[in-house]
């Protein structure tokens, strides 16, 4: 175990990348996540672990650099914020189609358009439902603390290589900008060339002694393309079986339930405590994986609940997945703020009181 240190969420992403043995980071600065590359440039991991850090000329370039690095079986990542993720969506679709593992961080800000630099969660649809064209999903992790930001880079690579898919870390401006204590982990060394050949036999590592590997998302023959799609869908079903993650906060005896992710789960927790002081039994379910979504856990909780409320920094996006899981059995409410505004715990509590009265 390493030290306990105080750092920003964005800095934690950078240290998480170095410490989990990432091979490459390619990025283009944008608030509120510019500290990721700033920290990497300051730490100069190319001098220690050999990790490459490169500022690309645009988000389009950085996601395609990730594609190139991922083709060779290396652990490559990029980070950006909402307008940048829109530019990356073409690349994400290609990465998903070519079945390439990588980690892509979206520290979400208020939108649409250039929007604001303040926190948002309006990219839920875009990231959880795909983002680019075609029938695909990615693993989507939702950090709610600076420790999560640090840990989820390593976890993201683990899942990305397990399922041969991009893994999205869907953060927000609050988690990116706030400072908290982080427990640093033992450093994982970067994979050697031999290890890469063993872990990723599909990778382009030089064809000497074997048949050549071809990595592409193009298959003009529809039957081949359908095979690819079936393979992808089978992986998504496996994710839903094996890697759904969530956290319960005071749900054991709850009559009412908040569903919230990222910074909203933190604000929601305080609202839960305030409600319980008034004698109202509220709990909170925090999806850690937004895809695969904790549908089964909501299903398990529904029989004990009077109603459920999704709280988000959006006009209501995750609430659709909550409604699908609830399937009409109890009322599902929603409260959200948009465009970079963040509600206080009091505001959340008031919204709940109005909903259940």
């Amino acid at each position: 175990m390493g030290d306990k240190v105080l750092m920003k969420g964005n800095e934690a992403l950078a240290y998480g990348a170095i410490d989990c043995g990432a091979d490459g980071y390619f990025g283009y600065p944008i608030t509120p996540q510019s500290e990721v590359m700033e920290t990497l440039m300051k730490e100069m991991p190319w001098e220690t672990t050999g990790m490459v850090v490169l500022q690309a000329e645009s988000e389009t370039a950085s996601i395609n650099m990730v594609y190139g690095g991922a083709c060779t079986g290396k652990k490559c990542m990029t980070s950006t914020s909402s307008p940048g993720i829109s530019l990356m969506c073409e690349g994400l679709s290609y990465l998903a189609g070519a079945e390439l593992p990588c980690v892509v961080v979206d520290v979400v800000r208020g939108g649409p358009g250039l929007g604001t630099i303040q926190p948002g969660q309006g990219d839920y649809f875009q990231m959880v439902k795909g983002g680019g064209h075609g029938d695909y999903h990615t693993v989507v992790l939702s950090p709610a603390s600076v420790q999560d930001m640090y840990d989820f880079v390593g976890l993201g690579f683990k899942l990305a290589f397990k399922y041969l898919t991009p893994c999205i870390i869907l953060g927000d401006g609050v988690i990116g900008q706030m400072m908290e204590k982080v427990q640093l982990r033992d450093k994982t060394p970067r994979w050697t060339e031999e290890e890469i050949k063993k872990i990723s036999p599909w990778a382009c590592t030089g064809k000497k002694g074997r048949k050549r590997n071809v990595i592409t998302s193009l298959a003009l023959d529809p039957s081949v393309m359908e095979e690819t799609n079936l393979r992808l869908q089978a992986r998504y079903r496996k994710m839903e079986k094996e890697d759904v993650m969530f956290e319960n906060y005071k749900t054991e005896d709850a009559d009412y339930l908040f569903v919230a992710y990222g910074c909203m789960s933190r604000i929601g927790e305080t609202a839960v405590d305030m409600a319980r002081e008034k004698g109202i039994k509220v709990g909170l379910l925090r999806p850690i994986t937004l895809f695969p979504f904790p549908t089964a856990e909501i299903d398990r909780l529904v029989p004990q609940l009077k109603s459920i409320m999704s709280i988000e920094l959006s006009s209501g996006q995750m609430v659709e997945d909550v409604r699908l899981a609830v399937n009409g059995r109890v009322p599902v409410g929603f409260y959200g703020r948009m465009g970079g505004s963040v509600p206080s715990p009091e505001e959340i509590l008031n919204a709940l009181m109005n909903f259940i009265k």
């Binding site: 105080l6 630099i117 706030m178």
Partner: protein, 180 residues
């Protein structure tokens, strides 16, 4: 123990770094901490604030609407945050940025002339440490020993020679705070 603090003033007054040093000091005292800044154009001038939570237990929301303590360094922040101090809480302000004194009767109000104190000790740059001293006199939630450790953690090594001056500024702030 749980202390929720808002520090607010102009960008450049050392609002964020004061919060950072307080957070580091809390960490040295084995507390849970969160530090949530207003970020963006504020840091290039304009009003700026940071919410610091120091607690014995897990911290839920880093974003709050009411506070145990408000440390106020300009009038805009006074207008915004005077009403947000919880009854029985504490409001400390620097008289130099203020045109209207606070009027609340249900909270403890303290003032400090931090510009004057910093000038007297010949270290204008330690203005924010004077204010921090005033706060720590009223609420000694972290020991001065841990503040020293916190300074060491938050300052790059090339600035460690300024730690004694910062400590002097904190001590001077402690001596100069006046309860209204």
């Amino acid at each position: 123990m749980k202390e929720e603090i808002i520090i607010a003033g102009f960008g450049g007054q050392g609002v964020l770094s004061m919060g950072k040093i307080l957070a580091y000091s809390g960490m040295m005292q084995d507390k849970e901490i969160s530090w949530m800044p207003s970020y963006g154009p504020e840091m290039r001038g304009g009003t700026c604030n940071v919410t610091v939570v120091i607690s014995d237990t897990r911290i839920s929301s880093p974003i709050l609407n009411t506070y145990d303590t408000a440390i106020i360094l300009n009038q805009q922040s006074m207008d915004k945050f005077e009403d947000k101090v919880r009854p029985g809480g504490l409001l400390i302000f620097d008289i130099n940025g203020i045109t209207r004194f606070p009027v609340r009767k249900d909270i403890k109000i303290c003032k400090i002339d931090a510009v004057d104190v910093a000038t007297k000790i010949g270290n204008n740059k330690a203005y924010n440490m004077v204010v921090l001293g005033a706060y720590l006199k009223e609420k000694p939630i972290v020991t001065l020993e841990n503040v020293e450790k916190g300074l060491k953690k938050s300052l790059p090594q090339r600035h460690w020679d300024s730690i004694p001056q910062n400590q002097e500024a904190i001590r001077s702030g402690m001596e100069s705070v006046v309860e209204l």
